[in-house]
Each structure stands twice: as structure tokens, then as C-alpha cells.
């Protein structure tokens, strides 16, 4: 029987040499005349083990990692095809604690299947949700999504079902489903992993959204920085079209739905939904004032559902296993699972899907294993460049939308960036302002001007110029930006700035030289 050897095609695995490993495996297979085939799967999300090579032996997947191309001949000598022992052997992949402790609903197939094999997708439970949706009324689909408690995974946490209901009820002969795949937050890669590792689940989720709202056209707006995701999504959409999942009659339902992939052009602000819509229309990515809501007047002024990749990719399992199955995970008003992305200076970095409710400390210290540098953790930025820096003192905060908001933070798209004790929090606060200045769309004054003034004020604090007065000025400026900005870019930049200043005041005190000069 042909042995299957898996080597991820995920961009991070490739960045760590997966293509070279696959080529080396290919050479050895040919040279040794072994009956084996290489499958390019998605990533399991354990990036410290990438490239992670897996071999299927008697129905079990045995892992080896991190593998370098130069390790490949020795792996064959050690009996790779029969799961032979080697210093890189990890045993059964499913038994690795990092995977075993997860609840994989949205990422159930990611890293297991060939992302572009529709047969694989169906064998592992794919299309069941869409088949069920086809047999239901639009209203019932919306109700099931509402009942699941699913909230927008892009960061805002708005209930997905309510958004869909608004579009379903909106009058319009043309409606759109827009997938926000403009994953620009540092520390996040869940959208990328789904698009590269299980693109059909996103297609299925978008098709369900189409059936639920009467929309016939979908767009996946992603980043030019994600060429592998663009290629995988485009290929998967083509396959879905050939197989009647997309097109004039979705799975023979008589209802049309098709999807197009669009690439952004390097503007962070286009992750903001109204800016994204302008960009899709071919305009400058300037934020729109709300109302009107995109659900009423969105893309080309038509009723539009705009959802994050993970929100849409979570819909198929909700339709398949039921609203209750999903809702039973989680805490408070944060229902279901969340793909945590543990990143930065961390020992075990990767994607960890779990029910809401783990404490920040459990995530960073236990799952992440502390820092990669081995130094103490100083701060964790949660929720991307617009998220707050959390000190160890707040490590008891449970991972939940409301719990983070109560501590002047946000969970955002669930990215966590760990910093060790060498981090200078004043520098991080300056960066937040600088980033906002570079990426501001320019429409509103607090964001456009405030961010530039913010950089200057932080610099004055660093230079020891009237530090007390300038710290108060920075707090006042943050207040203006928070309440006066049109969107989350200007409105949330104060989170990293204020959290850095509040939790790490020692970094905002000028050095001894500057003090002496006063």
C-alpha cells in the first residue's frame, strides 16, 4: 500500500523550509524506490515543530519535527515510512498535549486533510452543514446561527446571527457576502491558516450565509502579504465551482452563489469593514460614517453581510452539529470556541482552539510555555496593534470579550504577542502611535493628527522634557482619540498606549541623565 507522507503547504511551514523538505523527501522516495506519496496538508498550528512531517502508519499519524532538508536521508535510514524512531520523532501527533488539549471545531480539519481535496473534505465532515442549510428556510438558518451565540471573530464581537437577520430583512435585489480576510493584526494568523489549510470550510460558510440572507455574490478580501492564501482560496473556489458547490445552483438548490477573491494593497485600515468596502469598490480605503450600516447599505450600496474568516468558517459546524453543540462551549456571553494565536517571544507558539474562559496566565505560561528567550514574561499584547499590553498582575483575566473589556483591553482577533523583560514599553507605546500615523486613512482629525502629536509627546517623555506634564497630555490625547475617532484605528490606539503607561510606569520615567538636566 502506498504510504502517505504529509508536509504542510502552510506559508509559515514554507517560510521554515517545508518546500525544501518536500523536495528532499521526493528525491529519497525516488532514489530508494519506495511506494510513497507526499500530501501537502495545512499546518497543525504547532510552529515550533514546523516543518512537521507526518507519516500515516496503520491509520495513525506519526510526527517528525522540526525537520530540515538535510535530516531527510537519516529519517529514511531510521525507517520513516514505518514510523521508525529518530531523535525528531514525536510519536502520535494526535497525542501531543498541545493538540490533545484543544477543542477543534472551526479548525477540525486544518493540518489533517489535503486542503484542495474535496474528497478529503467530505470524508472529514465537510459539506454536511451546507447540505442541511439547503433543506432549511433562510429564517431558520439565521435562527440557528443566532442561537449558537456566535459573535464576530474579527474583534468587534457583534452577534453574527443578528447581522445576518438585518441583511435577510433588508430589501434589495442584489445582496453581498463579504469575507473580511484582511488579517493585518500582528500576532494573528488564524485566517491565513484556514484559507491555506481548509479553504473549503470558508467557501461552505459563505455559501450558507448566501442562502441565509438571499445574497448571490461573495468576495473574499484578503491581503497582498498573503500570496499563499490567495492561491489556495482561488484554487479551492475553482474546484467548488466545478463540483456545483458554487455557481448557478448551490448543491442543486436552485439558488445561485459565487465567490471572488480580491487582494488588498497594503493598507492596514482596510481591515475596518467600511474602509474594506470602499477598497473593494475601487476607492481609497477611507472609513465610512455609520449609519448607514453595511447590512443596509454596504458594497455598492447593497445590503451586505461583512464577517471575519473565522466567523464564517465556524458556521458549517454550527449548521452540522447544531446551535447547542456550539453554544455549550465557552463562558458568559462568549460562546463556542476561539482560535488563540500565541505569538511573539514564546516557547510554544501556534494556534490553539479552545472554549472561551482560559485565563491569560494559563495561555501564556502553561500552553505557550513562557518566553522563547527563557527570560521572564514582561507583557502580553492581546488583540493586535490596537490591543492593550497586559502585565503579569492581570494574568488571571479570563479569555472572554467582556472580561477583557472590563480591564481596559480587548480580545480582538485573539492574537497574543508575548514580550520578555527586555521590552521597553515606552518604545511600544511610541510604536502604537507611529503605526496609527502611518496607517490612518486621514478622514477624522483625532486619528490623523492625534497619532502624529502622540509620537511627539512620547518622544518628549523619553527625552525628559516636562515628563509629568507630558504624561498627562498623552493621557488627555488618548482620551480624545478614543472618543473622537470614527473607527477602531484611532479609537483603539489608546489601548496599547495607555496600558503601557498605566501598567509599566517605570518605563515612562526619564533616565537619570535627563532628570539631572531638569
Amino acid at each position: 500500500m502506498t504510504v502517505k507522507i504529509y508536509v504542510p503547504r502552510d506559508a509559515a511551514a514554507i517560510a521554515l523550509g517545508a518546500d525544501k523538505v518536500a523536495a528532499a523527501l521526493d528525491r529519497e522516495i525516488a532514489a530508494r524506490g519506495i511506494d510513497a506519496t507526499i500530501v501537502r496538508n495545512g499546518s497543525r498550528g504547532m510552529f515550533w515543530l514546523e516543518p512537521l512531517v507526518e507519516v500515516e502508519v496503520a491509520g495513525e499519524r506519526i510526527g517528525y519535527g522540526p525537520v530540515r532538508a538535510s535530516d531527510v536521508p537519516a529519517l529514511f535510514e531510521a525507517g520513516l515510512v514505518t514510523g521508525g524512531d529518530h531523535r525528531l520523532c514525536l510519536g502520535k501527533v494526535e497525542d501531543l498535549p498541545f493538540l490533545k488539549e484543544q477543542t477543534r471545531l472551526t479548525f477540525a480539519r486544518c493540518g489533517i486533510t489535503d486542503p484542495l481535496s474535496l474528497a478529503d473534505y467530505e470524508t472529514h465532515g465537510g459539506l454536511k452543514g451546507l447540505r442541511r442549510a439547503v433543506s432549511m428556510t433562510a429564517g431558520d438558518i439565521v435562527k440557528q446561527v443566532t442561537d449558537s451565540g456566535l459573535r464576530g471573530r474579527g474583534g468587534a464581537g457583534f452577534p453574527t446571527g443578528i447581522k445576518w437577520k438585518t441583511v435577510l430583512d433588508a430589501a434589495g435585489d442584489r445582496k453581498y457576502i463579504v469575507c473580511n480576510a484582511d488579517e493585518g493584526d500582528s500576532g494573528t494568523f488564524a485566517d491565513r491558516m484556514i484559507m491555506e489549510g481548509d479553504p473549503f470550510v470558508l467557501i461552505e460558510g459563505m455559501a450558507i450565509a448566501g442562502l441565509a440572507t438571499g445574497a448571490t455574490k461573495g468576495f473574499v478580501y484578503t491581503r497582498s502579504e498573503y500570496p499563499h492564501a490567495i492561491a489556495a482560496m482561488t484554487a479551492a473556489i475553482g474546484i467548488a465551482r466545478q463540483n456545483g458547490i458554487l455557481g448557478a445552483s448551490v448543491l442543486g438548490s436552485g439558488k445561485a452563489f459565487d465567490i471572488e477573491v480580491r487582494s488588498g494593497a497594503g493598507a492596514y485600515v482596510c481591515g475596518e469593514e467600511t474602509s474594506l468596502l470602499n477598497s473593494l469598490e475601487g476607492k481609497r480605503g477611507v472609513v465610512r460614517a455609520k449609519p448607514p450600516l453595511p447590512a443596509h447599505k454596504g458594497l455598492f450600496d447593497c445590503p451586505t453581510v461583512i464577517n471575519n474568516v473565522i466567523s464564517l468558517a465556524s458556521v458549517p459546524v454550527i449548521m452540522d452539529k447544531g446551535a447547542e453543540h456550539y453554544r455549550d462551549f465557552g463562558m458568559g456571553r462568549s460562546r463556542g470556541t476561539i482560535p488563540l494565536q500565541i505569538a511573539g517571544n514564546v516557547k510554544y507558539g501556534g494556534l490553539f482552539e479552545t472554549a472561551f474562559g482560559l485565563s491569560l496566565g494559563e495561555i501564556v505560561d502553561k500552553i505557550g510555555g513562557g518566553t522563547a528567550s527563557g527570560r521572564p514574561v514582561k507583557a502580553v499584547q492581546v488583540g493586535g496593534p490596537l490591543g492593550a499590553y497586559f502585565p503579569r498582575a492581570l494574568f488571571d483575566t479570563p479569555f472572554d470579550y467582556e472580561a477583557f473589556a472590563a480591564r481596559d483591553g480587548l480580545i480582538g482577533h485573539a492574537g497574543l504577542v508575548v514580550f520578555d523583560d527586555t521590552a521597553d514599553m515606552l518604545k511600544q507605546a511610541r510604536f502604537a502611535m507611529e503605526f496609527c500615523a502611518v496607517e490612518s486613512c486621514g478622514k477624522c482629525t483625532p486619528c490623523r493628527i492625534g497619532s502624529t502629536r502622540g509620537v511627539e509627546v512620547v518622544d518628549r517623555i523619553a527625552d525628559g522634557i516636562e515628563p509629568e506634564k507630558n504624561r498627562a497630555l498623552l493621557a488627555d490625547l488618548c482620551n480624545t482619540m478614543k472618543f473622537g475617532s470614527l473607527c477602531a484605528l484611532g479609537g483603539f490606539t489608546p489601548y496599547p498606549v495607555m496600558s503601557a503607561m498605566t501598567h509599566f510606569p517605570e518605563d515612562f520615567v526619564p533616565g537619570p541623565v535627563a532628570e539631572a538636566a531638569e
Binding site: A11, A12, I14, A15, L16, F47, W48, E50, E183, G184, D185, S186, G187, T188, F189, R192, K217, S224, E225, Y226, P227, E260, R262, S263, G264, A265, G266, A267, Y268, S279, L280, E281, G282, K283, R284, G285, V286, F300, Q341, I342, A343, G344, N345, V346, G349, G350, L351, A372, Q381, P385, G415, V417, V418, F419, D420, A423, Q428, F431, F435, E439
Partner: protein
């Protein structure tokens, strides 16, 4: 007013890109991406052609072009090296590595080496945040970079 309009071969190449994409909904970004792929940058004299085809003013096309970081108004070096400058890479010493690369190339961000071999650009996140720091050289990704790895990248880029 500068009203240079592409003629001859350039106009033909630009027109082919526009014709292939103008039937899309919201075609301007795809067209600009296509033009940049074709020419390596977006030549100013192509803007009137795009404007005319999409029934926009040249100023509107210019406004869109200048809003997005990706589009260039002049050719880049033979190789483009993008270094991630976002937080996850910062936490793993990205700033220090960026300093090293600038020193090795003798240029700052947004600049091209005098021999035209490398353009250095910042990028805010390549989605490789659990294996930082990262970079992209001519579309190829590189992660978990250290001094040795960036030096190898610079050598490769200077070729």
C-alpha cells in the same frame, strides 16, 4: 498640467491589462495590481488610460494609487526585501535585525541600493508571528531569522 499619456508599446500593454479586468465589479484595484505586475510599477502616463476606461478623473485614479502602500510610482530594485516590523517580530529582536540589514545594504527603508540590486521595505505583518522575525524576499517567505540568516538573505538579494 502634466498630461502625459502612454503611447505605443506601453499603451498597448496597459490596455491589455485594463481590457482583461475592467468587467469586474470594482475593477480599479485589480487593474492597478495588474499594471504593477506588468511594468513593475504603475507608470504615471498609464493613469489617463485607466481613468478614461473606468469613467473616472485622472485625479481619482491618482488618489487611489497614492492611498495604498503597495503601489510604486517608480521601478524597484531587481530584488525587493521586505522586513516585518510589527510587534511579534519586534518581540523577537526584529528591530535589531532591521538595523543589521540596513547596515549591510547601506540603505534605509524605502530606499534602493546604488547598484539597483535591492529595494528595502518595511511590512507590517506577514502572518508568521509564531516564528518571528520574518521577511519576504521577492515573494519568498523566511521565518525565525537570526543574524546568520539575514546575512544569507542579503547576499542572495545582492546577486
Amino acid at each position: 498640467m502634466n498630461v502625459n499619456v502612454a503611447v505605443g508599446e506601453n499603451a498597448r500593454r496597459a490596455q491589455a491589462v485594463i481590457d482583461g479586468l475592467k468587467s469586474l465589479e470594482g475593477p480599479l484595484l485589480p487593474i492597478l495590481h495588474g499594471i504593477q505586475e506588468e511594468f513593475g510599477y504603475v507608470p504615471q502616463d498609464v493613469l489617463p488610460l485607466i481613468a478614461n476606461e473606468l469613467n473616472l478623473s485622472r485625479a481619482e485614479v491618482h488618489g487611489v494609487l497614492s492611498f495604498y502602500h503597495d503601489y510604486r510610482d517608480h521601478p524597484a530594485g531587481r530584488h525587493v526585501l521586505k522586513l516585518c516590523r510589527a510587534e511579534a517580530c519586534q518581540s523577537m529582536g526584529g528591530d535589531r535585525l532591521a538595523g543589521r540589514v540596513k547596515q549591510l545594504l547601506g540603505i534605509d527603508f524605502h530606499e534602493t541600493t546604488p547598484d539597483g540590486s535591492v529595494t528595502l521595505e518595511p511590512v507590517f505583518c506577514l502572518g508568521l508571528c509564531a516564528c518571528a522575525p520574518s521577511a519576504m524576499l521577492d515573494g519568498e517567505l523566511h521565518a525565525r531569522l537570526d543574524d546568520e540568516a539575514v546575512e544569507a538573505l542579503v547576499v542572495e538579494a545582492r546577486r
